[in-house]
């Protein structure tokens, strides 16, 4: 059984900080389908629409009947471990720095045989295993073999911890602690074992209520001044703590409930862009380089950047039209951030909640995402190493409809503002 991960020792400040050497990231265009599914927490393989054969590795035509219609289909991952081996030598730098490394050959019950990274807790073959797809540090899907039964310390396996972004023992910045969502995220991170949580607060003189004050009672929490509209504020905080932050959770947002005609002028729309888009940009310029520099800094390395976006980023919800546009802009920038941080092995997790149960969605009918549920989804995404998260029924439904046809969804949303 995997031993629980002990708290990491303090770093020796005179030693050089290790730099990241990424694992191999080359994939064919078709094989990126495996990554797309893994980014959302799914293990899927191609299934031939003609003969039903499950394919691996990903390919253009069916290995059995040569049909070209191969659809990504969720797999349960059950199979038999046929053999295992332990690498003690590797020329690839990523694996060379992490030896020994266990590999296994698994035959899935659905047919294909595949090579997997093998969890410590999987016994020697022959034995039943569960295959799962995870993103590695280069942001590409790899297959991992897990024990058939769950174990509470599963995530403490060194191989698996390399794949995920577990907040345990890590230091996190949550950019806005003044909202119910921010407070729920902070509490969830503390419960997940975060060592330190810095909590941003803009304009403290506005007296945001007792919620943020109660966070001060948590020994892991420290409230820090952070106003994403103010570049000097962002730089000042980065100067103070960026070199220690392992995970950034950018939940700061401005949400107003106007379309184009419902509000004269640009003030509300500009305020949304100033935080939701430019705020992310300021934050990324100030904190991104420090995170990249520490992505291989031991078991509590810098590891992830979480953006709380909105499912309205996918398609405009006209009743909240300018907010939707600002989140679409933020989503686009988050794609750029993902591409840039990927080069250092930092994962960008984009969270697309449906309407959150907060004051700015007061006039929307349920279902709405409770702040605690959103926070739990974020922590789970970090633990599972996901990249794209759609918390809540509305978000799930929108995602399905958007994937079916964005144009149809747009027209549905334009009719009577239905969700």
């Amino acid at each position: 059984m995997t031993m629980p991960l002990p708290p990491p020792r303090r770093k020796n400040p005179v030693l050089r900080t290790r730099q990241m050497n990424l694992p191999p990231s080359a994939r064919t265009r078709v094989a990126l389908g495996l990554t797309v599914c893994a980014a959302r927490g799914r293990f899927a393989l191609q299934r031939c629409a003609a003969c039903g054969a499950i394919q691996y590795p990903p390919r253009e035509v069916c290995r059995r009947c040569l049909a070209t219609t191969l659809r990504w289909t969720a797999q349960d991952g059950h199979g038999q471990l046929l053999s295992s081996t332990r690498l003690h030598h590797a020329n690839d730098l990523f694996f060379r720095e992490r030896l020994p490394w266990r590999l296994g050959l698994v035959r899935l019950d659905s047919g294909p045989s595949l090579i997997v990274h093998l969890h410590t807790d999987v016994p020697e073959p022959p034995v039943r295993v569960r295959v799962s797809a995870r993103l590695d540090r280069s942001g590409r899907a790899v297959l991992v073999g897990l024990p058939a039964s769950e174990d509470c310390n599963l995530g403490d396996d060194p191989m698996l911890r390399e794949m995920v972004c577990d907040p345990r023992y890590r230091k996190v910045l949550v950019t806005d602690g003044t909202t119910s969502v921010g407070q729920a995220i902070v509490r969830a991170l503390v419960e997940a074992g975060a060592e330190l949580v810095w909590v941003g607060q803009a304009e403290p003189w506005k007296r945001h209520g007792s919620g943020i004050d109660r966070l001060r009672e948590l020994p892991q929490v420290s409230i820090v001044p952070l106003d994403l509209t103010n570049g000097r504020s962002v730089e000042a905080l980065a100067g103070a703590i960026a070199g220690k932050v392992d995970i950034v959770v950018n939940n700061a947002e401005v949400h107003r409930t106007f379309g184009i005609a419902a509000r004269r002028g640009l003030d509300a729309a500009r305020a949304e862009m100033e935080v939701n888009y430019f705020g992310l940009l300021r934050l990324a310029q100030a904190f991104g380089p420090a995170l990249k520099a520490r992505s291989a800094d031991g078991v509590a390395s810098a590891v992830a950047w979480v953006n709380v976006l909105s499912v309205f980023a996918l398609a405009n919800f006209p009743a909240h039209g300018t907010f939707s546009a600002s989140k679409a802009a933020a989503h686009s920038l988050a794609q750029c951030l993902r591409a840039e941080l990927r080069t250092a092995g930092i994962r960008v997790v984009n969270v697309f909640p449906g309407p959150i149960d907060d004051e700015w969605n007061q006039n929307l009918p349920p279902p709405k995402v409770a702040p605690g549920a959103l926070a739990a989804a974020i922590v789970q995404a970090l633990r599972d190493g996901l990249e794209d998260v759609y918390p809540g029924d509305v978000a799930q439904e929108w995602l399905e409809r958007w994937r079916e046809d964005p144009s149809t969804l747009e027209r549905e949303l334009a009719t009577g503002f239905e969700r």
Partner: protein
């Protein structure tokens, strides 16, 4: 003394230190708070500043910034057009106000002890009359500045002083404003807090009386002043030229006070 001699004497006096210049202006900084309205209303922008270049790849030999702010950010001037009561007056915006109005004497009424005891302190007619009993009648067309030492609250939380019932900062009572406008014909009213009206001024009759009566009578406002404790009760002269913003309702500005060196408060 001819006017030319007067000006030359003034320059000499400033150079010699016989006339001192006191800066009544807060630093324009992103950390200085701005007025806050309920979030459903439009908001005044706080001061923000971004580098254009800093002797770097964006401009190798020069340093400069872009900044943004509202007309009512930092130490600023309120023109009559700012309030609905002054909307139809002639020359009511910062670009059309006669420039001679930007040079005027000031009377400083010291309320700092009352404000220390009660953050909601309202300047009364009796306070004004008591001040006049010592310092003489307020001259027409002069500024009346309410010294509260509020600007010494360097922490934004203490300066803004919000609680769940809103903001608590000192200002004038409705009666005092009417007295200053109707009985004393003042040029305007200046305060150290975020507005010329008290933090709870919305609950006065009329709401925000200093804005309502001063601007309705074509008079001006100065807010977020500092260093009022360095001014004598009478005898100082203020330079208060706002930016020449087309149809501007106000403007951040540098407020300078000229005082005779031997009269400056210590």
């Amino acid at each position: 003394m001819t006017p030319a001699e007067l000006l030359a004497a003034l320059v000499d006096s400033i150079r010699s230190g016989a006339v001192r210049i006191i800066d009544l202006t807060q630093v324009l900084s992103p950390s200085f708070p701005q007025i806050a309205l309920p979030p459903e209303f439009g908001q005044c922008w706080p001061f923000r500043i971004e580098e254009i270049s800093h002797y770097d790849d964006r401009g190798p030999a020069w340093y400069w910034n872009n900044f943004s702010c509202g007309e009512h950010t930092g130490t600023h001037f309120d023109a009559p057009i700012h309030w609905i009561s002054g909307r139809n007056l002639p020359n009511n915006s910062v670009d059309t106000i006669p420039v001679a109005h930007f040079f005027a004497a000031a009377c400083v009424i010291d309320c700092h002890q009352q404000a220390a005891a009660d953050p909601d302190y309202l300047l009364t007619v009796a306070d004004i009359q008591a001040w006049e009993a010592v310092h003489g009648r307020i001259p027409a067309r002069s500024w009346v500045l309410m010294r509260t030492d509020w600007s010494k609250r360097r922490d934004a939380e203490a300066y803004q002083n919000f609680d769940e019932t809103g903001q608590h900062t000192p200002g004038p009572s409705a009666e005092a404003v009417r007295f200053l406008v109707e009985q004393r014909d003042v040029l305007g009213f200046g305060s150290e807090a975020i507005g010329t009206d008290a933090g709870q001024g919305y609950h006065l009759k009329p709401p925000y009386p200093c804005h309502y009566y001063m601007h309705g009578a074509g008079r001006y406002g100065l807010q977020c002043l500092t260093n009022l404790d360095l001014l004598p009760p009478t005898g100082s002269v203020l330079l208060t030229a706002p930016l020449k913003i087309e149809r501007g309702s106000g403007s951040p500005l540098r407020v300078l006070a000229l005082v005779a060196a031997n009269s400056a408060a210590t």
